[in-house]
Symmetry: D2
Subunit: 377 residues, 4 copies
């Protein structure tokens, strides 16, 4: 693991997700750019001293030299955005598979470069867009793909948070600090941090691609350097339209990602606050409540569920599904087998490149006086 | 009553609303432009033959000639939009108070003309934007005005319906017919029919006025003549921003108007599907569930509630609140008293003019390639 | 109307319910046992002086003497329980139809006597068990009767309130005063006031009759004279079992009546707080959300719905459905027609007798050391 | 681990729970009474051949002989009820700490014997009553203990399932088979399997003990040998009363444990289907929605939460909290430190003995013709 030292949020989440299904073992780490902090963090995680590194460079270099059956196989990179590309590239080029926290990189160009590296090395890559790991989000996609809702007309996705309603970066809130710092986050704040999740979710569930967008991008809290709020009108490849909301100043909201998709014959709705429920609406019929663990759900949902219906699975399980499917895919490769289609259903570099394009396009649109900005990559 | 004959929807709603609190008696009507239908409708409503008129013109003319203690005092106009202005003007100029279904008129110009008539005649006018009649919507406004949420930053309002997902105007659905017919509805379909409700609701609750907007206006069903779907980015007078959604092709949705408002210190959420509940969120505190009938609610909510907490009041009661407050205001006038501030809290011609301006601005924005269109009246 | 003067709760509800569908006109009243209060109340309701009576005896006597086309046809009795039987009997025996607030009478014997009077006079009688007036409660009954859920096994009904958590009868709360006074309420407090509603609801929806019960009846607030809390184990005629809860000391609860019924093949759930929703669960399928106004609902639901799906109807509309169906039934009689089956679906004296038997049996069981008490009438 | 081989349900849950917080490593197991199946299961779990045992007896014997730094420290027992006592006793007496799935044992006597063993050996013991591991259940207990609700008057707990609505034990459903088999489950079916959870939950949250009960115990599905349905009236030590429901024939229900507690000043409600929410009701105030991760929650909730508010944690996390707190307590012991009070908040043998007493008392009451049965141990 690269990043995720003491005080980090997402590193611990990655580690729990990795452990959940017993497909990974944490064997080494460079947990911080500060060697002392990396060391302290590694010891807390019960790593042997010699597998705790001072830097990600050292990690890759030293691990590469270990015998194949000892050295790390998959490197998780959970650093702030400005330290995504370099370690990912280096890891891939040195023969490691990579799990990378979103958004893929600091800039679109880096993402495109990374895509090339992945293609050239043939190593596997997973981008942790957590929400697509939920069984009921997978089910939503399958329902849309099945044609049950008819041609899709509307996609509404929203990601409201309230935790940046005050000038948190002025306190010692580390999460707030780097996420609002353009040197670490990139050109976008909320749009990069949670907008990319919403973007990924809406393309994943709808099976459509955004072609044009029109963004209202705002900094609502005085002194902040990056956007903390935005709303985007969307036009999709098939003529559908929609809205994407990402805000971190919806005071009182937690983290309630929600998506609604409507087609000619019906619609569906999912929200993280009730993550094991999928509302399926068909014209002139009672709304149906599909549930994680339901015997009527698809293999994509069922293979990503651990307990019988009624035992709620949550965010960590969704995250773990990404890790598990990635592991199964790697193993299939090692065994020369073809991975099952359900295992391959995790986000990769294509989603990463599109996510970075979203950031660049949405910020450009926010500055434009024209209504529509083409979605270009 | 003018309009509201057999087969109409909103006419019956107006009559129930008027009866609910025993402040009105139906004494006469011109229920249809077809005299035979008007007659039949009036008889079904137990009106005496001589108070059922062949046309709204006849109604106004004949009623005016009746002795003061016999003739109708308030005329409800519940016709399609193209028959709003003329009867309203005539009624007001002949000394009657007017209750008019939304949107105010067929065009903005008519609304401005009507405003002049109202000012000149001094008669009273109520526009039935139902949603502002709900006790918890009134409470929401009071909470915002109280400053409890701090300066408002975000306003999200949405009005999703699914009933026009198919080409209903091709069947004998009368509601669909006139609402999608530009000669009866005006230049807007969904934006006029439900978008104006959403617009009114967001300005009412937030206490703010929209200054600029950016609209994506669509016709999603082939063959339809007016918009059945739209999304609008909003900029408010105080710097706040927001989104307004009005769609009639969200297949599977009923009529779930919803509004969310967030300020610097907290937010609130109300939706018609759970109309007696108001979610109040304050930073770093548990969300509070305010309820119709709660002893802690304001006089604006309490005076518009008929039963103790836990006995759900709904759409008809909200509608009746408009009628009741209008009646109390008229009575106060008759008695030379000053109406209470809670009674005056019903929509009038100012809301009507702004609503018509919304229609014209939003349709203009939908056609514009510029991102922002100023909200002009 | 007998009872329902100033300060009463349920009288005003009856009057709104009667007005809602324009089938009734309030023509006379004896609103209080105090003549002055009766007069004042009647004037507020715009009744002519000569139709406001000093006592219910006077009302019946004088109205009887009026010409048939002038005199009252239906008498609503909305007094406390100890003034139910005498006026109801007198009204029926003098040729009036009667609407009576629940519970039917002060004692079971009175209810049985009243049943005889009704049978002998042939006049019509409606007991206002409001909850059976909700469209989705009617739908629930129709679903059970249709066999869709298979043989019924379990019935859970609960009626939690919190308003008597303190010694309210020690304040000037009139509602609390008479409801906790054995000389006015009868032998039961909560069990009579709300337990009878729950009892009626569970027999109505399940289509079953209770045969045995086992009650835990409590007075939780010191100084109170009647039960304010109880729980009852139920055995039904077909072998099903269940639970009935009625409590007025569930601090913080409003009035959230709820019923759940489960059969061999599925179950259903309805609660007043979300009154337009009926949850229908079938084994191994997604739960279905049936909604008031849904095109798929039965004629029993549809004929008791006033607005399209998505416009919430509430408690007053449910109440009005009782009034409307009773009016339609009376009219059919006057016209010598057979009333439609949907109109006849209102509670009558059979429900009244069973409700009073419930009170006597449940209180007896509460005092018994035996587990099961037979439900006797 | 003892038990939990292929095809088992709860064994896998225990293993995930153990892994979640990196406090345990699976080092050995006797996964089945069938040695071949034990072996196969162990290999799938990547255990070395020599640590996979043919029987629990062998596991204890062999592990005991390993050097202290190699041998297992904590033994999880996840077998059917009839194989709880013997391995638990043996493990404890041979120096191992024990985690045992509920209910504690096959009979009350065994539980009391086990209690003695625990006291004599001084080894630590955890009983996995999962629901007390949820942060919001812990919060509920803390709120009750704080006195915020006043003296408790009512406790309603329910555990409805529908999965045994048919004669599942007639199919090859292994879970159904042993749970309905008196030689494996003991004298109770539903009451033992889920009734004990409900019992534990209500005593945990209310801080009260049941003193008397009155049970209606049923077998609803023909051919079944043990109860699949029951309802129990409860009397608590402080005069409070309540109801406990445990049924496995509520067709269409999943696993929706729910508890409501009401005191003189307010109440609270928690249900597993919305596990991160705790409804707190105070008289005459808006209901408050307390949430996992809220900054206002107690240390008991916060120390059992892994992610910021809005990232749902579920059943596996609740289970993991038991494991984690048990591990922290063991570690504190090893380090000679006093464990924090939050760590000690896991169910132990006292809860186990009371749970077994509940089973015996509730089944006795079900057979009794007397209303109340004293809760005896």
């Amino acid at each position: 693991m690269i990043g995720g030292g003491q005080g980090a949020f997402i590193g611990a989440v990655h580690r729990i997700a990795a452990r959940m299904d017993d497909q990974y073992e944490l064997v080494c780490g460079a947990f911080s750019s500060d060697p002392a902090k990396s060391k302290a963090s590694g010891l807390l995680l019960n790593l042997p001293d010699n597998r705790i590194y001072n830097s990600w460079q050292e990690l890759i270099e030293k691990e590469k030299q270990l015998p194949e059956n000892e050295r790390v196989q998959v490197i998780s990179i959970v650093t702030p955005n400005h330290v995504h590309f370099a370690p990912a590239k280096e890891a891939l080029e040195n023969g490691f598979h990579v799990i990378l926290d979103k958004p893929a990189t600091f800039s679109l160009q880096e993402a495109k470069d990374l895509q090339q590296v992945i293609e050239q090395t043939g190593n596997l890559f997973c981008l942790t867009h957590t929400y697509t790991g939920y069984p009921m989000v997978k089910e939503a996609r399958q329902i849309v793909l099945s044609g049950k809702l008819g041609k899709i007309r509307k996609v509404y996705v929203e990601y409201p948070q309230g935790w940046l309603s005050k000038f948190e970066e002025g306190t010692d809130n580390k999460q707030a600090s780097w996420r609002t710092d353009p040197t670490k986050s990139g050109i976008a704040g909320a749009m990069g941090d949670i907008g990319t999740h919403a973007f990924n979710l809406c393309e994943y569930v709808s099976g459509l691609q955004i072609e044009k967008l029109c963004a209202d991008i705002n900094i609502m809290v005085q002194g902040r350097q990056l956007d903390d709020d935005g709303a985007v009108l969307l036009k999709f490849s098939n003529g559908a339209s929609g809205i994407l909301v990402a805000t971190q100043v919806a005071a009182g909201e937690e983290n309630n990602v929600k998506i609604r998709v409507y087609g000619e014959k019906g619609g569906l709705e999912w929200q993280q606050a009730d993550a094991n429920t999928l509302k399926v609406m068909l014209l002139d019929k009672p709304v149906e409540i599909w549930r994680t663990g339901g015997g009527y759900t698809s293999s994509f949902a069922q293979q990503n569920t651990r307990t019988p219906a009624g035992h709620p699975e949550g965010y960590l399980e969704a995250f773990a599904n990404l890790y598990k499917n990635f592991a199964f895919t790697i193993k299939a490769g090692l065994e020369g087998k073809k991975p099952e289609k359900e295992w391959l259903d995790f986000p990769g570099i294509e989603e990463g490149v599109r996510g970075m394009a979203f950031i660049e396009n949405v910020i450009a649109s926010g500055k434009s006086e024209k209504k529509w900005t083409d979605f270009t990559i």
